[in-house]
């Protein structure tokens, strides 16, 4: 879940009153956000640098609230959004109407898209905020919001990258192109000298913040780039903006562009930027649209969000989604009975305009979903908002009426019974991990990997997570090693699953329930394990079936000592093996005393 840092005093000022921490936490809890931490700017820096906490200079520093918000509420990623949502929630503000600045189509700023962009980053959207009043606080918030969006919905700039520019330094029409790196030269943000694009990427390889994004374009023959009519570079998305059009506290008119591989998300990102910061425009909540013109040969492209492309597109798409929802679809799933007149104010608290839909015979509500609420996909999302606004604490608790009977999986009942038998035989149950290193699963138990057995992890974080175990042996030996000073004899067991490749299953692998037990003492304890095997084979005997005699045959498995090992045979099938653990295996695991080990496929005994 994303966390947003906001100044407490600025937030309370925006909310029009101050709160005690408990009161504010309570408000957050009801609304569905969480006050995660209370800190100060200096404290954050100290933590980053791992410095000792100094004596707090009370009242000197601004208190910062770190607020955790839902991952699909992009409109809550900045102070403006949180404050607006809470103001509306507590009834202090009307739902804003976001509107276009009325300008003739021909004077609309244009972004022309070239064909080649489809090879690297096919989409672009844009908008203009006119007459913005920046101060230090809202300017920082504006920058932070871009960061938060980049981290979250933009998936670290892979899906969408945002560029913001001082419109008064550049001239429309703009053009969104994809060019070979050698043909792009400009002075990037925070630099004084001009770079060629390929050299710039090389330069950023040592930049802690930017190096993470280089992989998005570095292997492409062409890089995306946005120019103005004078061939001034606005940005090299998704890496860096140009220095020329950089915004500052003095900027009045802001041009926002978002380039993307996912058009739906680009539109959400742009909407979030303009709906949040049009608050500071001379004409509040007013946005100037931008026209994006795709080349003729991209007119037939199928884009999931737009369907077949139109040649000219007006952005931002501030269209309000309208849903006609029967009242019962809202109230029945919650389990409350409210009338239309009671539901509408609840919807309003959640920023949803609503009015009764008349003439349908049944009660229904027409809901207008504003561009800030991209999280609302279905009437069930509207239903949730009503439930939140009503208050979860007030919903009467009821009991589901359906009559069902309980039951367990036979395999689990069976393995629980076997666990009982083995613990009654004086063994201690342990529980080990499915994931292990390749070496533990193979070389350390003297087994070769023929590639036909083990499930292999593609992206292990460390060698501990390379394969899924194909035997319980390494886990038990590791457990023994960690308790090597324990009183002898040590008798441990585990009942659990291993996983093997299995061509008969849809996913190509299947679990197998195993029982393993280990005996460790100054002598090998072969008879102890033999006794346990006898006991298990005795208790799994089914009534009226011939007894299982002769279930032991000599074996020759590498993890056991030669001539001190046996297979366990059940219905002509080998279902397990036991024996004195090979000294080379003991050595690999660092175990100084002899051990005997048994492993049985208990699924086969069910």
């Amino acid at each position: 879940m994303p966390t947003v840092s906001v100044g407490r005093d600025r937030l309370f000022q925006a909310l029009g009153r101050s709160y005690t921490q408990e009161e504010f936490e309570e408000l957050c809890f009801e609304f569905g956000i969480e006050l995660d931490d209370v800190t100060t700017e200096k404290e954050i820096i100290r933590k980053e640098k791992h410095l000792e906490a100094e004596v707090r200079e009370e009242d000197e520093e601004e208190v910062i609230y770190k607020i955790e918000v839902a991952a699909n509420r992009y409109d809550l990623l900045c102070l403006e959004g949180i404050a607006r949502a809470l103001r509306i929630f507590i009834g202090k503000e009307e739902i804003p109407i976001y509107k276009f600045r009325e300008i003739p189509r021909e004077s609309m700023l244009q972004i022309n898209v070239t064909k080649a962009t489809s090879k690297i980053r096919p989409y672009v959207v844009g908008a203009v905020l006119r007459g913005v009043s920046f101060n230090r606080a809202n300017y920082n918030s504006f920058i932070d919001l871009q960061d938060k969006l980049h981290q979250n919905i933009c998936r670290k700039r892979t899906l969408v990258a945002i560029g913001t520019h001082d419109l008064d330094t550049i001239d429309a029409p703009f053009s969104y192109e994809a060019l070979i790196p050698q043909d792009i030269t400009f002075t990037p943000l925070k630099q004084v000298k001009s770079f060629r694009a390929d050299e710039l990427l090389e330069f950023y390889r040592s930049d802690l913040k930017l190096k993470k994004f280089l992989h998005i374009i570095e292997n492409s023959p062409v890089y995306p780039v946005i120019y103005d009519r004078n061939r001034t570079v606005l940005s090299l998305p998704p890496i860096i903006n140009g220095a020329h059009s950089a915004i500052s506290l003095r900027t009045k008119n802001v041009f926002i562009e978002c380039t993307a591989t996912d058009l739906t998300k680009a539109k959400i990102v742009l909407n979030t930027m303009v709906t949040m910061f049009s608050e500071y425009c001379d004409s509040k909540f007013e946005v100037e649209p931008v026209e994006v013109v795709y080349p003729d040969d991209r007119q037939f492209e199928d884009c999931a969000s737009e369907g077949i492309f139109k040649g000219k597109n007006i952005y931002p798409d501030l269209a309000v989604t309208v849903m006609d929802i029967p009242l019962s679809v809202i109230t029945c799933p919650i389990g409350i009975s409210l009338g239309v007149a009671e539901v509408i104010p609840l919807l309003n608290k959640m920023q949803l305009h609503a009015k009764e839909k008349l003439g349908t015979g049944n009660y229904a509500i027409t809901v207008h979903v504003p561009p800030t609420r991209s999280d609302i996909l279905h009437p069930c999302d509207v239903m949730e908002d009503v439930a939140i606004a009503y208050g979860y604490d007030k919903i009467p608790k009821t009991k589901p009426k359906c009559m069902t009977t309980g039951g367990q999986q036979p395999l689990n009942v069976f393995s629980d019974k076997i666990r009982g038998e083995v613990s009654r035989a004086g063994y201690m149950e342990v529980l080990t991990w499915l994931l292990c290193s390749h070496e533990e699963n193979f070389a350390m138990v003297k087994r070769k990997d023929d590639g036909a057995k083990a499930v292999t992890i593609g992206n292990p974080r460390s060698s501990e997570f390379e394969v899924v175990r194909t035997s319980l042996m390494p886990g038990l030996l590791k457990t023994l090693k960690h308790n090597i000073d324990h009183r002898r004899p040590i008798k441990i067991f585990e009942a659990g699953d291993i996983v093997c490749l299995d061509g008969t299953r849809d996913v190509g692998a299947s679990n197998n329930r195993r029982l393993a037990a280990l005996y460790c003492n100054v002598t090998s304890g072969f008879e102890e394990i033999l006794g346990l095997v006898m006991r298990i084979m005795q208790v799994v005997q089914k009534p009226h079936e011939p007894a299982n005699d002769n279930f032991i045959r000599p074996s020759n498995e590498p993890e056991f000592f030669p001539n001190r090992q046996c297979y366990i045979i059940f219905k002509e099938k080998q279902i397990g093996a036991f024996g004195v653990v090979h000294p080379e295996v003991l050595e690999k695991f660092g175990i100084p005393d002899p051990c005997t080990f048994v492993e049985i496929d208990i699924q086969a005994l069910l």
């Binding site: 609304f31 839902a70 991952a71 899906l159 996912d262 999931a304 969000s305 029945c332 799933p333 919650i334 389990g335 409350i336 279905h378 949730e384 439930a387 939140i388 979860y392 604490d393 919903i395 608790k397 009991k399 589901p400 009426k401 359906c402 009559m403 009977t405 309980g406 039951g407 689990n412 629980d416 083995v422 009654r424 201690m428 149950e429 342990v430 529980l431 080990t432 991990w433 499915l434 994931l435 499930v455 992890i457 593609g458 992206n459 292990p460 974080r461 501990e464 457990t479 090693k481 960690h482 308790n483 324990h486 009183r487 996983v499 849809d506 996913v507 190509g508 299947s510 679990n511 329930r513």
Partner: protein
């Protein structure tokens, strides 16, 4: 012997004022006497007061001289009245006696050692040194001036000595009966148990551990939670399939393909077997549509859904993948019947491990599928379930989860910590998840999940998850773990 003499003496006398003197006069080693005193005191047969006094003790060399005589006198006695050659004398006494004895004998002018040999200078010597040493050994007082030489020659040392003064105790007897330690078969056969006194047990002594088997603490809690589900009429889902396709783990749950959980930073994707071999194609088509352009009244996520993403195999990140398979199977039945399902099994996350997070852990999941279920029903069933886990006070916080709407975090008031702590997640499955499966439109699913490890750690006060699960668990933790009392209240 020692016991008899103490008890016998006290029979006729009021007290033994000094056990040291008593031991010396009775010819009993004081250490032996001390053991008897302690035993008699333990049974309150005598009252014993400890005291300490300082006195002279013989050192090893002094003890030898007390026994054998001082070396100078030994040497003197080895010299015949008419003299002896040096060599002969050396043969007659041991080398230490010769070495020390000759120098002291010369110094004390007892003998003369010349070229001709060794000859006596006096006719008779009294061994005073030996006499003093024997007196000290017996605990008798020796004159300060006589101690001087003994001190110089380091034959004696000054040490504290513990003694006792004794008198009859409340349970004094002149003769103690022999106490038996255990009731044996012979006692029963002979019938003499009636006359025997049995030794008191020392109940504070360390008890020998008995040889028994043990169950793993985490699995004991699993068993307890499992029986809560069973009592509430829930049926277990088959969860023994750790390898899952992205389709069942994510896509079927209406989790978009760019969702952060599908990042390699969070999920273990597989090299072998890298992708799934088959999926139910009709169903895949419906899932594709609901993701790409929406359906069933949903706007969808409006992106290009990729089959190869759905085919990617992984280690399941939640047991909800199994729930999806079960609900799909339920939807394929001719007529719908309500279900309550549960599972408690292993899930995998490719996250950084720390004191509270492992790459694998156990997820508890419960769900109810029926027509017309409500959010109130979910709150009601959660209240019932968590009350049985000892968490009677619950609150629900709105949250986000891609496959449930509404989604709630479950908070429980912790009496010990005096605050609300998050104990699980819950919600109603989205129509975008249920309707493509083919479930009837009026069927809802309410569901909740939590980890098995977290409540177990809270229950037993364990703050490092590796002390509970995995190869580093200390056997003593398993052995000392009490029975799980969940569900007993």
């Amino acid at each position: 012997m020692a016991e008899d003499s103490i008890l016998g003496f006290l029979q006729n006398n009021e007290a033994i004022s000094d056990s040291l003197q008593f031991a010396a006069s009775a010819g009993i080693d004081h250490n032996e006497l001390e053991n008897v005193i302690k035993s008699l005191r333990g049974f309150e047969i005598v009252d014993a007061q400890e005291f300490q006094k300082d006195r002279w003790f013989l050192k090893e060399e002094g003890k030898t001289y007390a026994r054998e005589g001082s070396p100078e006198v030994q040497l003197f006695n080895a010299v015949p009245p008419d003299g002896i050659s040096r060599e002969e004398l050396q043969k007659k006494v041991n080398p230490t006696v010769f070495k020390i004895g000759s120098s002291w004998a010369v110094k004390k002018k007892l003998v003369e050692i010349g070229r001709q040999g060794v000859s006596r200078k006096v006719e008779y010597v009294e061994d005073k040194i030996q006499g003093f040493l024997q007196q000290i050994e017996k605990g008798e007082v020796v004159d300060e001036k006589d101690l001087a030489e003994l001190k110089n020659r380091k034959l004696i040392e000054f040490r504290p000595l513990k003694g006792y003064s004794l008198r009859k105790g409340p349970k004094y007897v002149s003769k103690r009966k022999k106490a038996a330690t255990d009731l044996t078969r012979e006692h029963l056969l002979r019938g003499d148990w009636r006359d025997l006194e049995f030794k008191e047990y020392n109940l504070s002594a360390q008890v020998q551990p008995i040889q028994i088997g043990y169950l793993q603490p985490l699995l004991k809690v699993r068993d307890a939670i499992q029986s809560i589900f069973l009592q509430m009429g829930f049926e277990e889902m088959p969860t023994n399939n750790y390898v899952e396709s992205s389709f069942w783990n994510f896509d079927a749950l209406f989790q978009p393909q760019q969702h952060p959980a599908r990042d390699s930073h969070d999920t273990f994707f597989l090299k072998v077997p890298s992708s799934t071999r088959e999926l139910p194609e009709d169903y895949v088509a419906k899932v594709t549509r609901v993701h790409e352009s929406g359906d069933y009244g949903s706007l969808g996520y409006r992106y290009k859904w990729k089959r190869e993403e759905a085919d990617k195999n992984l280690l399941r990140t939640h047991t909800t993948a199994v729930s999806a398979r079960m609900l799909y199977r339920l939807a394929q039945q001719k007529s719908f019947s309500p279900k309550r399902y549960y599972s408690i099994d292993r899930v995998f996350r490719n996250e950084a491990v720390d004191r509270t997070h492992l790459a694998e852990f156990h997820q508890i999941e419960g769900l109810i599928c029926d027509r017309g279920l409500t959010l109130g029903d979910l709150f009601g069933v959660l209240e019932d379930f968590f009350a049985r886990l000892g968490m009677a006070k619950l609150r629900f916080k709105p949250a986000y989860n891609p496959y449930t709407e509404p989604s709630m975090e479950i908070f429980s008031y912790h009496e010990g910590l005096k605050k609300w702590v998050e104990v699980g997640n819950s919600g109603m499955f989205r129509p975008e998840m249920l309707l493509p499966m083919g479930l009837p439109e009026d069927v809802s699913v309410i569901a909740w999940g939590l980890s098995l490890e977290r409540p177990t750690m809270i229950l037993y006060g364990i703050d490092n998850i590796r002390d509970l699960f995995g190869p580093k668990v200390d056997f003593n933790v398993i052995k000392n773990n009490p029975i799980c009392r969940l569900g007993l209240e």
